[in-house]
């Protein structure tokens, strides 16, 4: 069968509508209907492997044909996002099982997937803009179904989404009038000869829109509260899909539409990158370090993940904006890897909330014996987040570090590596406060999450392990995407990377094998010796104090309080505060304007008379009004 791109885009929407209708019959009908329509995109996408299509026209607007297309990069991401949508849907069914919103949530979910495909396939600036705004709108609706504070989160999200939308709209309209066309190719052709200010202004306007969605500092203000308050399945989508859509657009616009050559032509080069890319590298680095440090001192499980997500998108931005084959490969690979491991973390935390009803870390603890599968999934995910071999996060960060070495940027490399160490701190805090430590009495009856709910985390955990040990599998797609963007793809093998300029050879299976060898030796020593005897969790050394089930010494609240002391001087410099000051300023200005517009007719009449008098006087004296 031959599927057109428009069909892939409409499949989930169609499925969602059908499922919505089916919900009148029975919930099971709805669930199965929609599940089928979430699996279909994989088969439909299959025929587009290794194909580049640029001009599938589907609509004519303002005399211009709007077109869809697919290339190696959007193919890779649409496969990945289809998988994450499928898994998030399974999770969503459990999360909303008691809620009355579930039918509507599924409908919105389907439109979201359609819109994401739309952005990935769009080949002109109008289509991408429309689909991008549909995403923002639906995310706005979905957030509202979350936790207590979700309505505040909605407001913050939509404000920022609108800022991004307006800034992109300005660029879209401007470029349409200048270039006379919406198509990516025509825009690119126009920009190559356009005056420098036009290039710079449109670029900055577009990038603001993308980086808001990617929650890069200083445009991240909406992200922590939104990620924390949205329903868990929506948090997964926010972090693993919507954020990556923003970064996908960034990649396409920087390398394919504007192009590095254009930037090199109009601005000086700093550290082998055009000036504006160098600025973006520093923005990425600051996002890494600040995001990581703030994540360390959070007390809410989902807030930690939110800040971690911000920090990780800093790595992606840093890698991409290096603009070298190594850096771009690292950035693209990290898009894939981060979607996978952050997905696991949100799924596990969501499962814990599903069973215990809290996301407050200081109320949790000791769940390892109750939820072992979740523990193992989270263990793999935190190893990946911290960038430790042999999980997938290591390879992509490794590429970014090596790219920084190749560009001879020791300061950025220092920041990136320190961010890696910092991520070790917050992921340990997360797993310790949820699964280790002491089990509170009220959670003694907690069970592992249902088997179907384990599927999303297990599938992604296996992928994280597979992509970590055999980096060649994701690199197959990444190198094709890189070739599409016009780079010399870096050399890779199934097991890692061969020796090449700027990159030391790496072989992850050998690292894993040596690790396993070490484990076997240590385990032999351990298990051949006399057996252990299990004791109760309170059978501990407490310096002579006798503790009971009611009075516990569980170290969980303020885990890194001493670290908080160290960074306290910098808390004054919060970006939120700058925005709050700005809001205060706008309010003050508005207050003065309100004194003129009192809503009182007499005031308006007298104002009119005064202005008329002034104008008449100018005219009488002999001045020219316009």
């Amino acid at each position: 069968m031959n599927f057109s791109l428009l069909m892939i885009l409409l499949t989930p929407i169609f499925g969602g509508l059908l499922a919505y209708a089916g919900s009148a019959l029975h919930k099971a009908v709805r669930n199965i209907f929609f599940l089928i329509f979430l699996i279909l995109p994989f088969f439909e996408l299959y025929q587009y492997a290794n194909k580049t299509i640029d001009n599938f026209y589907y609509l004519t607007v303002l005399g211009q044909s709007l077109s869809l297309g697919i290339n190696a990069l959007s193919f890779m991401l649409s496969l990945l996002f289809s998988l994450i949508f499928l898994l998030a849907y399974i999770f969503l069914l459990f999360e909303f099982d008691k809620s009355e919103d579930s039918d509507l949530a599924i409908l919105e979910f389907s439109f979201l997937e359609g819109a994401v495909f739309g952005v990935l396939f769009a080949r002109d600036i109008l289509s991408f803009f429309i689909f991008f705004e549909i995403i923002a709108l639906i995310i706005f609706f979905l957030i509202g179904k979350g936790y207590e504070e979700s309505h505040n989160a909605q407001l913050k999200y939509i404000t920022w989404a609108l800022i991004g939308a307006n800034s992109m709209l300005a660029a879209v309209v401007f470029l349409f009038f200048k270039a006379g066309s919406f198509g990516y190719a025509e825009i690119s052709g126009y920009l190559s000869t356009a005056p420098t200010p036009i290039v710079l202004i449109t670029f900055v306007l577009f990038v603001i829109g993308f980086l808001i969605e990617a929650s890069i500092m200083p445009l991240h203000v909406w992200a922590p509260i939104t990620y924390a308050e949205a329903p868990d399945s929506v948090s997964v989508l926010l972090s693993s899909v919507v954020k990556k859509v923003g970064l996908y657009l960034f990649t396409i616009f920087v390398f394919s539409i504007f192009g590095l050559n254009l930037f090199s032509k109009i601005m000086p080069r700093v550290f082998e990158a055009p000036l504006i890319m160098y600025v973006l590298q520093w923005i990425g680095a600051l996002t890494i370090i600040i995001g990581t440090f703030v994540a360390i001192v959070q007390e809410d499980a989902k807030k930690i993940l939110a800040w971690s997500s911000i920090a990780q998108s800093g790595y992606i931005l840093l890698g991409l904006s290096l603009g070298t084959p190594l850096g771009v490969a690292g950035g693209l690979l990290h898009i894939v890897n981060h979607s996978i491991f952050k997905g696991i973390l949100f799924f596990v935390v969501g499962g814990v909330i599903y069973r215990t009803g809290t996301k407050n870390l200081s109320e949790l603890g000791g769940l390892i014996k109750k939820m072992p599968i979740s523990f193992i999934s989270m263990l793999l995910a935190i190893i990946a987040t911290a960038g430790i071999p042999p999980l997938n996060g290591f390879v992509s960060k490794y590429l970014i570090y090596e790219a920084l070495i190749q560009n001879k940027e020791p300061l950025l490399l220092t920041i990136a590596l320190l961010g890696g160490t910092g991520s070790f701190m917050y992921v340990y805090r997360l797993i310790h406060s949820i699964f280790l430590g002491q089990l509170p009495k009220k959670y003694e009856g907690v069970k592992e999450v249902p088997i179907l709910m384990q599927v999303p985390m297990l599938v992604l955990s296996l992928l994280a392990l597979l992509f970590g040990v055999l980096p060649g599998i994701p690199m197959y797609f990444v190198s094709k995407a890189e070739a599409f963007l016009g780079f010399d793809p870096i050399k890779y093998t199934l097991t890692g990377f061969p020796e090449q300029p700027g990159l030391h050879a790496l072989n992850v299976p050998i690292i894993s094998a040596a690790l396993m060898g070490g484990f076997v030796v240590a385990a032999l020593i351990f298990y051949l010796l006399p057996k252990t005897r299990s004791v109760h969790q309170l059978d501990n050394y407490y310096a002579g104090e006798i503790l009971t089930e009611d009075v516990k010494y569980n170290y969980s609240f303020g885990f890194y309080s001493f670290f908080d002391d160290i960074i306290k001087p910098f808390n004054e410099w919060s970006i939120d505060r700058i925005y709050e000051n700005f809001v205060g300023f706008v309010k003050t200005v508005g207050d003065y304007i309100r004194r003129i517009y009192t809503g009182n007719l007499e005031t308006y009449v007298s104002l009119g008379i005064i202005i008329l008098t002034i104008f008449s006087l100018i005219y009488i004296i002999g001045g020219v009004l316009w």
Partner: protein
């Protein structure tokens, strides 16, 4: 063939060198305190004693696996350090990979200690991770300086490039000093021993461990002593042309460290991190600047 044999024997070699260095250190501390001190092989006797305990207490599977992961990962880390004339596994991973491989052991240890449910252990781990953030900064900058200077990240090449007396200790003294302080912090010696701090958190992560668990932890610790000293030797003391010089240089590192260790009191954890982010970092940055401007 010989290389593979050496590869398999390296962890055992590292273990015994580590035991020797530890024993030497205890003897030296005792002499500075004007005691006679235990025999050189005392750490080995301790391990044998602990491993032969009949009664072992466990708090769960992760608690058991913690020491196993610690030892297993230490063995892995040893394999990625080159020896004189032997590249070991360095063709498959460089300095950056090594930095991350080094962390696996601490992760296992942290997870195991966390499951014990003892707040002292958790506090110890929290301190250990914070301290790590402290000493990693000068260590990273020092490492960067070497990478900028030599244009490679291969540990074996670092060793060969310094042959003769072209030690980085003489060529890049500032970087070497910063690297030394950072390595010293990584070893957790006074005044940076906030992690174990017996009087405050009852040896921190190790508080619930006894018997064969503690025995394994001590095996791992011996290997870690070898790793830290060998790492410093390779990066700054020019590696070595034969195995005896290598051990001799490691011994030199331990002697200097012990001189500091015996006379210092203990930092509070915040102050330790502040210290690392201030003086060693400044020194390291200065070293980096000199290399960056002065020529490759």
């Amino acid at each position: 063939m010989v290389e593979k044999l050496v590869l398999i024997l390296t962890p055992i070699f590292a273990f015994f060198v580590g035991i020797f260095l530890e024993g030497f250190k205890r003897k030296m501390v005792a002499r500075i305190h004007r005691r006679y001190g235990p025999p050189l092989h005392q750490p080995l006797l301790d391990i044998i004693k602990l491993l032969s305990k009949k009664e072992n207490i466990s708090h769960g599977v992760m608690f058991d696996l913690g020491p196993v992961i610690f030892v297993g990962a230490s063995i892995l880390t040893v394999l990625f350090l080159p020896l004189p004339h032997f590249k070991q596994l360095t063709p498959y991973g460089d300095l950056i990979a090594f930095l991350y491989i080094m962390v696996i052991g601490s992760l296992g240890m942290a997870l195991g200690a966390g499951e014990s449910g003892n707040p002292n252990a958790s506090i110890g781990i929290a301190r250990a991770l914070t301290l790590m953030l402290g000493y990693e900064l000068p260590l990273i900058i020092a490492g960067n300086t070497l990478v900028v200077r030599y244009g490679t990240t291969d540990l074996y090449k670092f060793m060969t490039l310094q042959s003769g007396f072209n030690w980085n200790l003489f060529l890049l003294p500032l970087t070497a000093i910063a690297g030394f302080i950072a390595t010293y912090g990584a070893m957790g010696e006074h005044p940076f021993d906030t992690v174990v701090a017996p009087q405050e958190v009852a040896t921190g992560p190790m508080v619930e461990y006894g018997g064969k668990h503690l025995g394994l932890l001590m095996i791992g610790h011996a290997i870690q002593v070898y790793i830290e000293t060998a790492f410093f030797t390779i990066l700054f003391l020019g590696g070595a042309s034969n195995i005896f010089t290598f051990i001799l240089k490691q011994l030199g590192v331990i002697i200097v460290m012990t001189l500091f260790d015996t006379v210092f009191p203990r930092f509070r954890i915040e102050n330790a991190v502040r210290y690392f982010w201030r003086w060693p970092t400044l020194i390291a940055l200065l070293g980096l600047l000199i290399v960056y401007i002065g020529g490759k």
